[in-house]
Symmetry: C2
Subunit: 250 residues, 2 copies
């Protein structure tokens, strides 16, 4: 039995999320269907984690086991013609038995993109959260800095999930400008259900001047068991990278 | 009767082109349906020209007549909540009676975007033509320069259209790099059916080294009545601007 690791990029716009669901197109169901053709046997993949409907991935990781002998390079090449154009296998590699996309992951990076524009941009509607007014970047970054380190993130968890522990360590969290868009980048050893989108929603309130850094601090410390507002929309969120070595000391 | 001119941006990915068609969502049918709600009466719009299925517009122009009294600013604002997010009214203005989106237009600018990348980019599949190898920009520009001036463009017309005259004047035509993408920009007083996409297909052959500038020159001069190959894919093409004053002398 070989264990294969794929790095997969996808535009999540047209899918009901990563995880397999009856009667719906999901990233997992399509990957399993096409990989089965390549491997000549049924394939069950494990992802590094789920992404919700509409959420994108620049580099999702999946692993699967196969008795098939197809070389990894051929998986990449052949997948191009089998997969729809919004799912791309970026790389494939054989990994040691026991390596698992989810359980072997040490930390992950997500990014969230906000476009501040008075006139909505139809070409970015699937890829950003559009705000009609400018956001205060400095204020958002002052609040985002409070996320660094190890905290109980229960107040930023949406209900409906069964996560093991709400205690997570955040290594990086901050906003920067990329041309017209504001990009929030957050790295951590784990994320609760909707945690990034809920954090973004709250940080954007700070950016709009509706809340202060202190409000954000109080929300983070609040001993609530779930987030009280709507998460920021799925379409702005990207799983950027899944890392399999401990976060480097700086 | 007032005559209103709208500038409209749209992502053409999910539409069967601009022109109204029975049983299909088109830009025209959706605009007419929503404008009728705003104006309180049936509305028939004229576009500056058709765009095919999958083709985008940064600034399509449409005009319509109405007895309704809704102020132009309100059309822009109210259309935000009525229209799907991939069709955006950028501006609205009252224009003199007799002004017509199509017949009053003097020249137009199109752009076509090509992304050269070994690994396909799922996020640009609706917005670029992706090529797995680099294209020779200089060679493409040397060939594109041949388009300038007044020519019979019959050899770059696809069959299935009834255009008045194949003689068109091209004011600008050239490629430039915008980050990872190559952008072809062409300005002219008129364009035949599929003309821009057919020109792009031939220029990309030059960029790939499969044809020379001389081959392109011969194709332009050929007294054919239609293009012999497939047009470049619709998703790379954008109607960039419609101009209502003569092309400025330089």
């Amino acid at each position: 039995m070989r264990t294969i690791k794929l790095v997969v990029a996808y535009d999540g716009s047209c899918y009901h999320g990563f995880q397999k669901q009856k009667d719906y197109d999901t990233i997992q169901s399509i990957l399993e269907e096409k990989l089965a053709l390549l491997c000549g046997e049924p394939v069950v993949i494990a992802g590094s984690g789920r992404t919700d409907a509409g959420v994108h991935a620049l580099a999702q990781t999946v692993t699967f086991k196969t008795k098939g002998r197809i070389p990894c390079n051929n998986i990449v090449r052949a997948s191009r013609s089998l997969l729809p154009r919004d799912i791309v296998v970026v790389s494939a590699a054989e990994v040691p038995e026991g390596f698992h996309a989810r359980f072997s992951a040490c930390w992950k990076i997500y990014q969230y993109r906000v476009l501040c524009t008075n006139t909505p941009n139809p070409f970015r509607m699937r890829y950003t959260w559009q705000q009609p007014v400018p956001l205060k970047l400095q204020e958002m970054n002052a609040a985002a800095a409070l996320l660094l380190g190890t905290h109980d993130f229960s107040a930023f968890r949406s209900s409906g999930s069964v996560d093991s522990s709400p205690i997570k360590t955040i290594y990086e969290a901050g906003w920067h400008q990329e041309e017209a868009e504001l990009v929030f980048r957050i790295a951590g050893d784990g994320f609760l259900y909707h945690m990034v989108r809920n954090i973004v929603w709250s940080l954007v309130q700070v950016g709009l001047g509706r809340r202060t850094r202190e409000d954000f601090a109080a929300e983070l410390r609040a001993k609530r068991c779930e987030f009280l507002n709507e998460p920021a929309p799925a379409e702005g969120l990207y799983l950027e990278e899944v890392c399999y070595k401990p976060y480097p000391e700086r």
